[in-house]
């Protein structure tokens, strides 16, 4: 069931990019995100955790991630705490940083 659900979950490893299927507001989208740099992460991280991690480091909330992935918010929270344990992060911000938080530009003044 898991396997058949997202044929779009194609990983273009050569380009270092990752296509994440994402459902939002009734529509289905694919979010193109940079792959995690696996070189500095424990290899015990699962595929689902990796995908959630990609969204955490872009600043998505648990609810947004749950809606996008079609899972429950509780599942997302569990995946995040498991990620935090695996990479030894003490907070969500630390997790995002450890996964390589994607910088946002400064607000224009």
């Amino acid at each position: 069931m898991k396997r058949g659900r997202s044929p779009a979950a194609v990983r273009d490893r050569a380009a270092g990019l990752h296509v994440l299927p994402f459902a939002f507001g009734g529509g289905r989208f694919a979010v193109l995100v940079e792959e995690l740099d696996a070189g500095v992460l424990p290899d015990t991280i699962t595929v689902a955790e990796r995908e959630v991690g990609l969204l955490v480091r872009r600043g998505f909330s648990n609810l947004e991630i749950a809606l996008g992935r079609g899972t429950s918010e509780r599942t997302v929270a569990n995946q995040i705490s498991s990620l935090m344990r695996k990479v030894g992060a003490g907070s969500r911000v630390q997790l995002a940083l450890r996964l390589g938080a994607v910088p946002v530009p400064l607000p224009a003044k």
């Binding site: 480091r57 992060a89 946002v104 530009p105 607000p107 003044k109």
Partner: protein, 332 residues
């Protein structure tokens, strides 16, 4: 005998002596806490240039030269991402297998290290730029520190970071031990002499309260409840002062309040206090830890944070961290 946690804090406050002696004192104090029979090694680290990390001369506690060599080799082999991720954004006490996983650590250890080493404990005290020091100990078993241990070391390390900053702003040892700072206090916390912003009644009251808490932490409490003692002795007073001991020629003791504001250089349109709070939140610190580091109340920290978030138009702490990342590394 249980190792004394406050000794680590006290070692950080030694202002006399060279940087090398300071690091040796710190390594000796941390030693009993993490030593697993292979020695404990302290070194200054500088990861400000995220391309690579510079590691200074190594201070040893029951050390072995083979490990000193392995430390330099391992650090020289780190990629820029590893430096950025594992030394900048990490808890105050952690292990190598926690940072990179058992498989990757074994691979690196088999390349550079003496055999039989399965993990490496590290106490890392670095500021927002990634400059500071680390004290590490090879372990022959895979280890993970509990949340409780991490929590107390976060606080211990806050003192180390603050005192490294103070040493940096008073580079001359002579000057460090003679400077009267912004205020001179009696051990009971009476302000005997104050300059500048330390002269106001509210500043005096804050300094006195901090001095009293510091004395209490170093009393019988340090044995009875070391964690509570560490909690009580906060890393800074009002986001501004560090209090250090001073003995005069007759052996009388005074407390000196040095101005020691953490710099927060981001080009964000915020007040100094807001920037100090924002910098620490963006490192992944909790409001409680930020309050401890700056010597502010948790309520003030959350108020400064709220104002800053509103001014910057942000909605989450992760977004704040992403913004500070962008501010730190000027994007092309």
């Amino acid at each position: 005998m249980k190792a004394d946690l406050l000794q680590v804090v006290e070692a950080a406050y030694h202002l006399d002596g060279s940087d090398g002696q300071w690091l040796q004192g710190l390594t000796d104090a941390v030693g009993p806490h993490i030593d697993a029979g292979y020695g404990v090694y302290g070194a200054t680290i500088d990861a400000a240039d995220s391309g690579h990390m510079r590691v200074g001369p190594v201070a040893c506690y029951r050390g072995d030269p083979a490990f000193v060599r392995a430390i330099h080799l391992t650090n020289a082999s780190l990629s820029s991402t590893e430096v950025e991720r594992t030394y900048r954004n990490t808890s105050a006490i952690n292990t190598a297998t926690e940072r990179v996983g058992v498989a990757k650590w074994n691979e690196a250890a088999s390349r550079h290290g003496p055999p039989g080493i399965r993990d490496c404990a590290a106490v890392i005290a670095a500021d927002a730029r990634g400059v500071g020091c680390m004290v590490i100990a090879p372990l022959d078993y895979v280890h993970r520190y509990s949340r409780r241990v991490k929590r107390v070391w976060e606080r211990v390390v806050a003192h180390v970071v603050a005192m490294q900053r103070l040493r940096g702003s008073l580079p001359n040892a002579e000057e460090r031990v003679r400077s009267e700072g912004e205020a001179v206090l009696s051990p009971a916390g009476e302000v005997e002499h104050a300059l500048g912003s330390a002269r106001s009644a509210s500043a005096r009251a804050l300094l006195q309260a901090a001095a009293i808490a510091r004395e209490r932490a170093r009393g019988p409490l340090r044995r009875q409840d070391p964690e509570e003692a560490v909690e009580m002795w906060r890393a800074l007073v009002a986001g501004r002062w560090s209090i250090v001991d001073r003995f005069d020629r007759d052996g009388r003791r005074f407390l000196i309040a040095h101005e020691n504001e953490p710099q927060a250089a981001e080009p964000l349109a915020l007040t100094v206090r807001e920037r100090q709070v924002v910098t620490r939140v963006a490192m992944g610190h909790s409001n409680k830890l930020v309050a401890y580091e700056l010597g502010l109340s948790v309520g003030s920290v959350s108020a400064y944070l709220n104002t800053a978030m509103r001014k910057l138009g942000l909605r989450s702490r992760v977004d704040l961290a992403r913004l500070v990342c962008a501010a730190r590394s000027p994007s092309p």
